[in-house]
């Protein structure tokens, strides 16, 4: 549904997107995971025909993003990262406006947006600027869907939205997928990777890995332990001095400890405990940890 071959784009000396290739299958939720400044928005603008690539080519729904831009615009829905609606227009007016721009009407495609729109319909005469973050996001999604696109591009839909609305939003995306829509979504939140069918880990304009979330975490090839004690700052410093440690970093309330070599977990944990006790740490807890997408991202960044 989306095919990208060796796309690059620079702004002056900054290479925002650097030789990116990937494909997204029809009906997939594909996640572009990376921090601010990784190049996610630039890539989205190229795929939605708003920016010309310097090199490479890309097609969306079979249409070239450069030569086929006019037809393509009818087939893609784009929800930019910043709230993109008209703040002074009401909910209803925004929706009607976007429908008319695409030569359609709200009634014609109402079925597609209905499950989302009913949630904001009680506020349909409220100005968009006066909506809460979660409601703005739902309205923006309705506006991006109103012309019944084949592919939906969502640029950081979770940013600035609280966890309750964020969860509802992902539930909506999954239900849209069952209707055959292809969804490409970007996010700086590593934990959202698990909600996608496949993800690309994106950093400094380059793709570090593409796989299913399980494939990404399955490729983590070091023993990993979650460790805590009464003093995180000292814990991190001490663990880094320990023999056999490949890496150690804070991970929420734990330190994640990556060991260089495989060893039976019981034996390794005993060794870690003895070491920490010799450094007079209190309340030590150690358990084997499953690598998360964030652990993998860190490992890939360091390689």
């Amino acid at each position: 549904m989306v095919e990208i071959e060796h796309i690059s784009k620079s702004y002056d000396t900054l290479k925002a997107v650097d030789d990116v290739s990937l494909t997204v299958a029809r009906g997939e939720i594909f996640g572009l995971i990376g921090p601010d400044g990784a190049g996610k928005t630039t890539l989205f603008r190229i795929l939605t025909t708003l920016l010309l690539p310097d090199e490479g080519r890309a097609t969306v729904d079979g249409l070239d993003v450069v030569r086929g831009y006019k037809q393509l615009r009818q087939r893609v829905g784009y929800m930019p990262g910043r709230f993109s609606l008209y703040q002074d227009l009401s909910v209803e007016e925004n929706l009607e406006f976007f429908a008319s721009v695409f030569g359609t009407s709200v009634a014609e495609n109402y079925d597609l947006i209905a499950p989302i729109y009913v949630q904001i319909e009680p506020f349909k005469s409220r100005r968009a600027g006066a909506l809460s973050g979660g409601m703005k996001q739902k309205l923006a999604l309705c506006c991006a869907l109103i012309h019944k696109p084949e592919v939906l591009f969502l640029d950081e839909p979770g940013t600035g939205v609280d966890p309750v609305s964020r969860k509802e939003f992902w539930d909506m995306l999954r239900s849209l997928r069952t209707q055959g829509l292809t969804i490409v979504v970007s996010t700086p939140y590593m934990d959202e990777a698990a909600l996608c069918d496949r993800v690309a880990l994106f950093q400094k304009g380059r793709i570090m890995a593409i796989d299913t979330p399980e494939g990404i975490t399955g490729a983590f090839d070091h023993p990993l332990y979650a460790v805590r004690s009464d003093n995180m700052y000292r814990l991190l410093k001490d663990l880094r001095q320990m023999e056999g440690v490949a890496d150690c970093y804070a991970f929420g309330e734990y330190a994640h400890l990556k060991m260089q070599q495989d060893a039976p977990a019981e034996k390794a944990m005993k060794g870690i405990r003895a070491y920490l006790e010799s450094k007079s740490h209190q309340d030590v807890e150690i358990s084997p940890a499953e690598a998360s997408v964030e652990d993998c991202f860190i490992e890939l960044m360091k390689n």
Binding site: D162, D191, Y233, F297, M301
Partner: protein, 241 residues
């Protein structure tokens, strides 16, 4: 242990709307305290009262030993502030930013000179002091902003969504600076609505509709709500409300 923030039924109303509804809590010296809540829950209003920018409608709060109602200017001098969105002037050099903020906080020229050199050395930025802050990579900018917020040796620093959107390595480096400051006795008040930042705090409070609905360590909260992460705690709390 000494309380750096202590509030007693602190409230703020705007007309008939109660933005902050009788919140009572304490933050200890050297603690990393996460102040959480959804948009519109009242976090910003509470923070404005704690930083001396807004007078409470009722209730009490002392910050760094001063009553926010009677001595807001003393409070302001004893706190630091950093947010990811705004902290340094991008079109000033590193050195000028340090001088500007040192001056604003009333440090002597001599102090500013000495602290500037020490800070540049610590961050290994000696060779870059004449560069515009806007030209620095995000990670450096953040470390610098945090160090500048600590320049006047405040007892407490307010951090507003300090690491949302940054890459996982920069995030770790930044949290280590926070741990280091806490180990040196600085109190850190982190406000955020990103729950993954909350997992790094010693204790967190969650505001819902102007009230503090939960306050504990992240670990105890996850246990109490039978949740895997803080995101789930937050969802359960907000749903139940």
């Amino acid at each position: 242990m000494k309380s750096m923030i202590s509030t007693d039924r602190l409230s703020k109303t705007f007309g008939s709307f109660t933005a902050v509804d009788a919140i009572t809590f304490d933050v200890q010296e050297g603690e990393i305290f996460g102040f959480l809540g959804a948009n519109g829950a009242g976090k910003t209003t509470a923070l404005k009262m704690l930083t001396g920018l807004l007078t409470p409608s009722s209730g009490q709060a002392t910050v760094a030993g001063f009553d926010v109602r009677k001595k807001p200017d003393q409070v302001k001098q004893r706190i630091g502030y950093m947010s990811q969105k705004f902290s340094l002037y991008e079109d000033l050099t590193i050195r000028d930013n340090i001088r500007l903020f040192g001056g604003i906080y009333g440090l002597s020229n001599r102090d500013i000179r000495e602290k500037t050199e020490a800070l540049l050395e610590k961050l290994e930025l000696e060779g870059e002091a004449g560069k515009l802050v806007g030209s620095l990579p995000l990670g450096w900018k953040q470390k610098l902003a945090f160090s500048v917020a600590l320049l006047h040796e405040p007892g407490i620093v307010f951090l507003d969504e300090p690491t949302s959107g940054v890459d996982p390595l920069i995030r770790r480096q930044f949290w280590e600076l926070i741990y280091e400051a806490a180990a040196n006795g600085v109190t850190l008040m982190v406000t955020t609505h990103y729950m993954d930042e909350a997992e790094y705090c010693d204790r967190v409070s969650i505001m819902v509709d102007g009230k503090i609905e939960a306050l504990d360590t992240p670990r105890a909260m996850k246990k109490a709500f039978d949740a895997e992460d803080m995101d789930e705690v937050f969802r359960k709390l907000a749903r139940g409300a």
